[in-house]
């Protein structure tokens, strides 16, 4: 403490204000989710989760997330390698494009795929003639989810790879390693925690995406309803416990992702050896 410090009260007042604000405004909604889910006891909660519609929504959500993941990985790694390790004209344009899906409203993200593949869209009639369903079916849901989650892995990796520079890769090259070997043995191990963080974030978004998916899912009960869609359905049907029980799963997923991300960020080696 410095001598003759002014009164601590204004500071304490500001702290109090921030604490109250965060608790009322951020923590209470979270508590509401769990309180409402368990409003009628643990048995009702279990029953809500065992509902066949709920189970099929969980299954579909896992399927979509699993199908999106490999594409996200591939794109994220390729984009980060190109952007972080090389200089080329138009690089900032590419970075802008990578970020673009983040600044598009989820509803519009869904709409653009509807325009492309829907019956009134460009490819719609062609697909319909061949009896291929993209809209209101799994492929469409995977596509919009991919659009919405595309930036996550790349955005996590690019700053990390840029900070790590290219010296280690160049050193491996000077020692005679091939491109693939450099990637597998030097680059990938160096960014593994960042990569995992990016995958977890994109996964959480993929499982929780609501607006974009609801534009293209068609809301076919037991068939194209993901978890968030099912939450909406239960909620609108005044099945509060059902809605919040499923919501609690998603909230838990989000919380775990958050914790994992902060742990991973601590693990990532920052300063070069």
């Amino acid at each position: 403490m410095t001598p003759a410090r002014p009164s601590p009260w204004p500071r304490r007042l500001l702290i109090l204000l921030a604490v109250v604000l965060l608790i009322l405004f951020l923590l209470l909604p979270l508590l509401t989710v769990f309180a409402s889910a368990f409003a009628h006891g643990v048995a009702a909660y279990g029953a809500a989760l065992a509902d066949p519609d709920a189970l099929s929504a969980i299954g579909l959500t896992l399927t979509v997330a699993a199908l999106v993941l490999p594409f996200n990985l591939l794109f994220g790694l390729a984009a980060a390698w190109a952007v972080a390790k090389f200089d080329f004209p138009g690089k900032s344009l590419v970075i802008t494009l990578i970020d673009l899906p983040f600044s598009v409203s989820p509803v519009i993200s869904g709409l653009i795929f509807l325009l492309l593949f829907g019956l009134q869209g460009w490819l719609g009639p062609w697909l319909a003639a061949r009896d291929l369903r993209v809209m209101f079916a799994l492929p469409g849901m995977v596509l919009v989810t991919l659009f919405v989650t595309l930036p996550f892995v790349a955005r996590e990796l690019i700053p990390l790879m840029e900070e790590q520079g290219t010296e280690e890769e160049e050193a491996a090259l000077m020692l005679g390693a091939s491109g693939w070997r450099i990637f597998w043995r030097i680059t990938l191990p160096n960014v593994r925690w960042g990569l995992l963080a990016g995958v977890l974030l994109s996964n959480a978004r993929a499982m929780g995406e609501f607006g974009a998916v609801s534009m293209v899912s068609g809301h076919i009960l037991g068939l194209t309803m993901t978890l968030p869609q099912q939450v909406e359905r239960f909620y609108n049907d005044y099945n509060t416990v059902g809605a919040f029980s499923l919501a609690s799963l998603l909230a838990l997923l989000g919380l775990l992702t958050l914790v994992a991300k902060s742990l991973l960020e601590k693990r990532t080696p920052t300063s070069g050896a």
Binding site: F25, L30, L74, Q120, E170, G211
Partner: protein, 274 residues
């Protein structure tokens, strides 16, 4: 650090990235604009600027702006408290800030609607005070503020951290009062970050759907946000209407972000030029 020209894999990785971006991002987005162009000017204007659509833009842009301003104030307070003070539970509070990032939007939506609803923990007392939040425009702003807060805090926090307390202490040692220190020393230094954070919060609030629709009441012309109007048009098989409104929203958002970026660039140039 110079980027490498000798590492292998550049054509492959860039080609793959561009193929993804073209197929997944650019082609669908271009489709929207081409579709809108197909409506013709007259047709486009008729649906894009119908009274109901105009009211929706007003609510979306106005609500997002109000939410961004609220977040600028609240975010600044929270960031300052998290960086400059220490008290038991501070780290937990810090983690709490990311909650809106972590909660899927539909979950946040039903939670907010319940919490601020007529029988909710916050909604009931507020209603007794004569303040209806759920199913009004106020609810829209509340939800938009909820999802935007982390953007401001997480943008301002590192800048405040890097700043250290030295400028504040230096100003205090020169005889500045606490308010003078805050307004004349700290605020100008973090203003760019605050502006960036508020812009991000604004952009997010503008396009937000899931967190808002449950609490919004969705009365056409009153509490109906533009994204919801788009979804409604699609449900009514009015693809042209949805396309036109989406085009206006997207263009408006991009122009605004562009203007903000230009303003920041201009300001940075001016400051560095002096």
């Amino acid at each position: 650090m110079a980027r490498s020209t000798v590492l292998p894999g550049f054509p492959l990785s860039l080609g793959l990235s561009l193929a993804f971006l073209a197929l997944v991002v650019l082609l669908p987005l271009a489709g929207l604009f081409l579709h809108a162009a197909g409506l013709g000017w007259a047709g486009f204007f008729r649906v894009a600027f119908a009274p109901r659509a105009l009211a929706a833009y007003g609510l979306s842009f106005g609500g997002a702006l109000l939410a961004a301003l609220l977040n600028a104030g609240a975010g600044l307070l929270v960031a300052w408290v998290l960086v400059r003070t220490s008290f038991p539970g501070r780290r937990l509070l810090d983690a709490l800030v990311d909650l809106p990032f972590a909660l899927p939007t539909a979950v946040a939506g039903i939670a907010l609607a319940t919490l601020y609803g007529p029988h909710g923990l916050l909604g009931a007392p507020l209603l007794r005070l004569g303040l209806a939040v759920a199913y009004t425009r106020l609810g829209v702003v509340a939800a938009m503020t909820f999802i935007g807060l982390p953007f401001v805090v997480r943008t301002v926090q590192p800048v405040l951290q890097d700043l250290g307390s030295e400028p504040e202490e230096a100003a205090a040692s020169l005889g500045a009062g606490r308010l003078q220190v805050a307004v004349r020393v700290v605020l100008p230094l973090i203003l760019p970050a605050l502006f960036t954070g508020a812009t991000l919060a604004f952009a997010r609030a503008l396009g937000e759907y899931g967190a808002v629709v449950f609490i919004a009441g969705n009365v056409p012309g009153v509490s109906e946000i533009a994204p919801l109007l788009i979804a409604t048009r699609v449900e009514q098989f009015d693809i042209a209407g949805a396309t036109a409104i989406a085009t206006v929203m997207l263009t408006g958002a991009f122009l605004l972000l562009l203007a903000v970026n230009m303003a920041q660039l201009w300001q940075r140039r001016r400051r560095e030029g002096v």
